[in-house]
């Protein structure tokens, strides 16, 4: 008799042929992924936002070339492994971003009284207060814009081109959605995963996009010419994540990112295997005033058992996967 544990792969897998991989527009997935495989993979982006909240034209789908494997990790068992600089400090800019998120959540349409109270309480702890008369977009300078109850941004799904490019692929989707196709730092470098990895996120140098370096936020900000400022919030609260979605996606029409950590023998999302994993994702939508969030997982070019998109209950996703690192918004 043999004791064996085996789990099979999950759904919507797509065999990577290591050749040209098409990209697809997305729509928010259902929580029960049934009957999705036979449907066309090019899906129009769904949105529940008013027309005035829509951003510019969606970029055309482009091809993604999957490059070959790269050099292996090296390093000594003890010598090269040092603890990362652990948790990011909460700078004044990050504090302001968190207050913005909480403010947004507290004023988002349809938010429950309990969630509103939580956001208000956290805001008060941080020395902020809720503006009582949020107005619609276009109301003038200084006005606070009430986020819609739900919103999904159409993006061009882009799988990572190299095995350690989940960060550059996420940054690519974020910048591409804003139609920023060349860097605005005076160099005019093209928007490619390779360029992002080499010149902005330093993923090529580090062989990863480390959370602690803050290269994700700094790289996107540099590439975009600080068109808007992304910051990384360490171990965010549920209210902060909900508010990050309502403010960043709902009000501003921009994407955000998360650096998740899944632990061996702990909970895993989107069909990921039972191992300890660090991984960047893109947040592109929400529903229920942020209680449900929509994510794009760039790993599918190298990990075909994952789905390109999935939805999650924000509270459990935040508590489970975002407490070791966090979100960038």
């Amino acid at each position: 008799m043999t004791g064996v544990i085996r789990s099979g792969p999950s759904v919507c897998t797509r065999q990577s042929d290591w050749g040209t991989v098409p990209t697809y527009k997305l729509h928010p997935p259902t929580t029960r992924l049934v009957a999705a495989c036979g449907a066309a993979l090019v899906i129009a982006a769904a949105t529940t936002v008013p027309a005035e909240a829509s951003e510019g034209p969606a970029p055309a789908p482009i091809g993604v070339y999957v490059e070959g494997p790269t050099a292996p990790d090296t390093g000594g068992w003890d010598a090269d492994v040092t603890a990362p600089e652990d948790r990011l400090p909460e700078t004044p800019e990050v504090k302001a971003k968190i207050r913005t998120a909480l403010q947004s959540l507290a004023t988002t349409s349809g938010v429950s009284s309990a969630v509103r109270a939580q956001a208000t309480a956290e805001l008060a702890e941080r020395g902020g207060s809720v503006l009582t008369n949020p107005v619609r977009k276009g109301a003038g300078v200084g006005a606070t814009v009430a986020a819609p109850t739900s919103r999904t941004i159409g993006i061009v799904y882009t799988g990572q081109q190299k095995s350690y490019y989940c960060g550059p692929a996420s940054a690519y989707m974020i910048l591409r959605q804003r139609s920023i196709v060349a860097s605005r730092d005076g160099r005019g470098l093209p928007l490619t995963q390779s360029s992002l990895a080499t010149n902005f996120l330093y993923t090529e140098r580090d062989q990863e996009t480390s959370w602690a370096s803050q290269n994700m936020a700094n790289g996107i900000n540099t590439f975009s010419g600080w068109d808007w400022g992304y910051y990384q919030a360490q171990s965010p609260s549920v209210a902060t994540v909900q508010g990050a979605f309502t403010s960043t996606v709902g009000t501003n029409g921009r994407l955000l990112a998360a650096d998740t950590v899944e632990f061996l023998n702990g909970a895993h999302y989107n069909g990921h295997p039972n191992k300890t994993i660090g991984h960047w994702l893109v947040g592109y939508g929400y529903a229920g005033s942020g209680a449900t969030t929509y994510w794009a997982d760039p790993s599918t070019t190298f990990y075909p058992n994952a789905s390109q998109t999935f939805s999650a209950a924000t509270a459990s996703f935040t508590s489970t996967y975002l407490q070791t690192n966090g979100i960038m918004y």
């Binding site: 495989c37 990362p84 632990f263 209950a313």
Partner: protein, 419 residues
């Protein structure tokens, strides 16, 4: 509970299922309903006995089983034990994961230890840290045990897509050794083409599947099944190219060949094959259906194999249990909401669940089926978590909890034979 070919089964498969205007004959209902087919190697249709899970009975602690072991849930911030494999004696092969092994950076900070948990006694095995020079600390993610021999897999990777896997063994003499590593097939970041490498040990031999270069360019990869004797006295052998999911049985080694394993295989087609000699296989059964249909979770024991057929994007699927030499077949359509099903087969007992790694499914029980009597019992496991254990009279499962930071508990139970 069981009536051969006569039970109308409500399949959970939707969407990809073609509409059916006329009801098919009873003995082909399962194939037609799912838009798929399963054929023996001689071309004849597999005509399974259908088992309706709607008739499954609730198992009772005490009368059906008793709990033998239940591990603490653990937490990444403290040392914890993770059971990985089950011996018929009740001994568990366990990984000891150190506190703060990973804190979100580029690499694991501390190595995983291995050992056993037997009747409450923990035994720590020799460390594997120094067995591969230059390695970073590794995590252990899979293990198998048979006849006092254990094999397990470790990787230093914290990525979804690549793995520098190593397979280690511990023989009956207690000696720990390196048996194989990813650099044996590819000296670089080895992509995970169809899951990470998972060892299966049986009668002194370890089997595993790995991605491997499909050609000399190293730019494309297929799957490959390999094996090596536990004593390491002979080199590893390639059992099958373009295949995965090794399942050793008393009738030899079985593997799966699908489009996930071999780029030349048509999408929607998969073959369970018997390895006749290293590098040579012959079809056992062939499964076909719409694009995205495949065979997963192949397991074997004695003179049976079991696997799940499913369609990408659909929940549910069908579990098949086939005799390896007598063409007996049992089919169990799954009404699950889960996207994949984990199987374990030991003797006359089949164990499975369709819970995923989130532990959030509302109702994904653990099923335990006696293949002789066709009795199916279910245990409603709150927060059930992917993975099933079966060895001898022992059955196990894992579960998460309401605590989002807590790790899974493992429950091992001893089952009584149905009267």
């Amino acid at each position: 509970m069981v009536a051969a070919g006569a039970i109308v089964v409500a399949l959970a498969v939707t969407g990809c299922t073609p509409s059916q205007s006329d009801p098919p004959p009873p003995d082909s209902r399962i194939d037609a309903a799912a838009g798929t087919s399963l054929h023996w190697a001689d071309g004849s249709v597999v005509r399974p006995t259908l088992v309706d899970l709607g008739d499954a009975r609730a198992a009772n602690a005490g009368s059906d089983y008793e709990v033998v072991v239940q591990t603490d849930p653990g937490n990444p911030r403290v040392d914890y034990l993770m059971p990985l494999a089950l011996d018929p004696s009740g001994a568990l092969v366990t990984a000891r994961v150190p506190a703060d092994q990973y804190t979100g950076g580029p690499a694991l900070l501390k190595p995983t230890g291995m050992g056993s948990l037997d009747d409450g006694r923990q035994l720590t095995w020799d460390s594997t840290a120094a067995l591969v020079a230059g390695d970073r600390p590794r995590q252990v993610y899979a293990a198998s045990t048979d006849q006092g021999v254990a094999a397990w897999a470790e990787t230093a990777s914290v990525r979804l897509d690549v793995s520098n896997w190593r397979i280690f063994t511990r023989g009956a003499d207690g000696k720990v050794a390196l048996l194989a590593r990813s650099e044996d097939v590819f000296d670089g970041d080895l992509p995970l083409v169809n899951g990470d490498t998972t060892p299966v040990v049986r009668e002194g031999r370890v089997y595993w599947a790995t991605a491997a270069p499909a050609d000399d360019s190293g730019s494309s990869f297929d799957m490959r099944v390999q094996s090596r004797g536990v004593d390491g006295s002979a080199p590893a052998v390639t059992e099958a190219e373009g295949a995965s999911q090794p399942a050793p049985t008393a009738d030899g080694l079985f593997v799966v060949r699908s489009s996930h394993d071999d780029a030349t295989v048509d999408d929607g087609t998969a073959t369970v094959e018997r390895v006749t000699e290293p590098g040579r296989t012959q079809p056992f059964v062939t499964y076909s259906g719409p694009a995205g249909t495949t065979v997963q979770s192949l397991v074997g024991d004695d003179d049976r194999v079991a696997f799940v057929t499913s369609t990408e994007g659909d929940s549910g699927g069908v579990v098949y249990v086939l005799g390896t030499h007598d063409q007996t077949a049992v089919a169990i359509p799954l009404a699950s909401s889960g996207r994949f099903t984990s199987l374990a087969l030991c003797g006359d007992r089949l164990v499975w669940n369709s819970a995923d790694g989130s532990g959030q499914a509302p109702f994904e029980p653990q099923y335990v089926m006696d293949l002789e009597t066709r009795d199916v019992a279910l245990v409603d496991v709150d927060h059930n978590y992917s993975g099933s254990y079966c060895s001898g009279d022992l059955v196990g499962w894992r579960a998460l909890s309401d605590d989002p930071q807590a790790l899974a508990t493992t429950t091992i139970t001893r089952w009584k034979r149905p009267r």
